[in-house]
Symmetry: C2
Subunit: 234 residues, 2 copies
């Protein structure tokens, strides 16, 4: 009997759809019944994480804890959360529930260190400015002896704007795609070998990247980990 | 304050992803916080509906009722279910919970009667053989004074096989696409004007239809209805 996956989502909703789809697509299955039970709380009313960190706005923690408790009560055996910035509150959330909340950040860093260590120093982190300022990914990669390239300050502003437009549903029509592709071209010229999406909105823009840099996606790595955990014994 | 949508899903999981995505894409939103709260129970372990009806297999009703109760307890204000065949048990499910379960079949028939009545008699139902045999759509359309064309018996077998392969994740690679396109070409030559997807796996194959028939999708109509219900007063 597989474990039940809990997805604490809504930050944003399209990124939650993306994780759900990637879990389903990465589950070995022929019949419906081979698939995993997944309980999702898509709660977009969680106060905005970037604003809480950058502008001392309302804390999302109470809403995150309530959602984690809802998933546990509904029968989830563990929780994953397709919002990197919200991982800032992970330890406090974990203290409030008895089921494990697996970190997409730690998972991604461990995976990259195991399989793509040679990219250390040449891997560009694309993430919200809040996630970058909190050093969530830099510290996780450093624990595995790897370093990340960071976008230039101006490019961080562009990434944040592009992410906000994804949350409004703008993918192919995202007005910042040109700027992002220009950034990627500049980075490639300066020796960047690959892009790491450390914001769950970024992989939704991958199909529109025109620069042939290798791409890594923390959401996809999280999906594969969730499938493996759900299908593992004990 | 919008209402919370409950999705009773997993039948199959890709169809549940599809409904979730269509709800998100059809919600007018700029910020995460403009989006709807959606609680999803993706429960693929519900006993197979087609087999229950066609081969007198295990009833899915207890699992469906348990899932509806889970969604109600988690805070859903109403339930939608992206599996047409499972609507056979809708009345019994509704008797077990106090929140409304809105029928995707009734919704689709009412919408088509209001907006596309001229297609009566020229609209091809693509659905599982179980859904066709139970006359779920034929009766719903008849209540609105409309009639549906049905696939030939051989084509019904092909639709069922194609649907099973979608549940295994086969979309572009679905081995029955050629047969389905041949059916559509034959139907078009015989006066069919449009295709109505009365199985939630069918719209996932729409991108691979090569015959220029107009297409209607009960999942998309359900998504729009869910958004309108969630945003309505009272």
């Amino acid at each position: 009997m597989s474990k039940t996956v809990g997805i604490l989502g809504g930050m944003g909703p399209l990124a939650t759809v993306d994780l759900f789809a990637k879990i389903v697509e990465n589950t070995p299955a022929v019949l419906d019944q081979d698939h995993l039970r997944i309980i999702i709380d898509n709660n977009p009313q969680v106060p905005p994480r970037v604003e809480a960190i950058m502008q001392n706005g309302e804390s999302p923690l109470p809403a995150l804890v309530a959602s984690a408790k809802l998933l546990a009560a509904a029968g989830a055996d563990f929780i994953v959360m397709p919002c990197n910035t919200a991982h800032y509150w992970l330890a406090e959330m974990q203290a409030a529930v008895t089921i494990p909340i697996y970190s997409m950040i730690d998972n991604a860093a461990a995976y990259m260190a195991e399989h793509h260590r040679h990219l250390s120093g040449r891997l560009l982190l694309t993430a919200t400015e809040a996630t970058i300022n909190l050093e969530l990914y830099q510290q996780a990669f450093a624990r595995h002896g790897m370093s990340l390239r960071l976008p230039d300050p101006d490019d961080r502003k562009i990434i944040d704007k592009a992410v906000r437009r994804v949350k409004a549903g703008e993918l192919a029509t995202n007005p910042y795609l040109g700027d992002i592709n220009a950034m990627l071209a500049r980075q490639a010229a300066e020796g960047t070998a690959a892009v790491f999406a450390g914001c769950t909105e970024m992989p939704l823009l991958f199909p529109y990247f025109t620069v042939p840099l290798e791409r890594f996606d923390a959401t996809l790595l999280l999906a594969r980990m969730a499938v493996a955990r759900a299908r593992s014994e004990g």
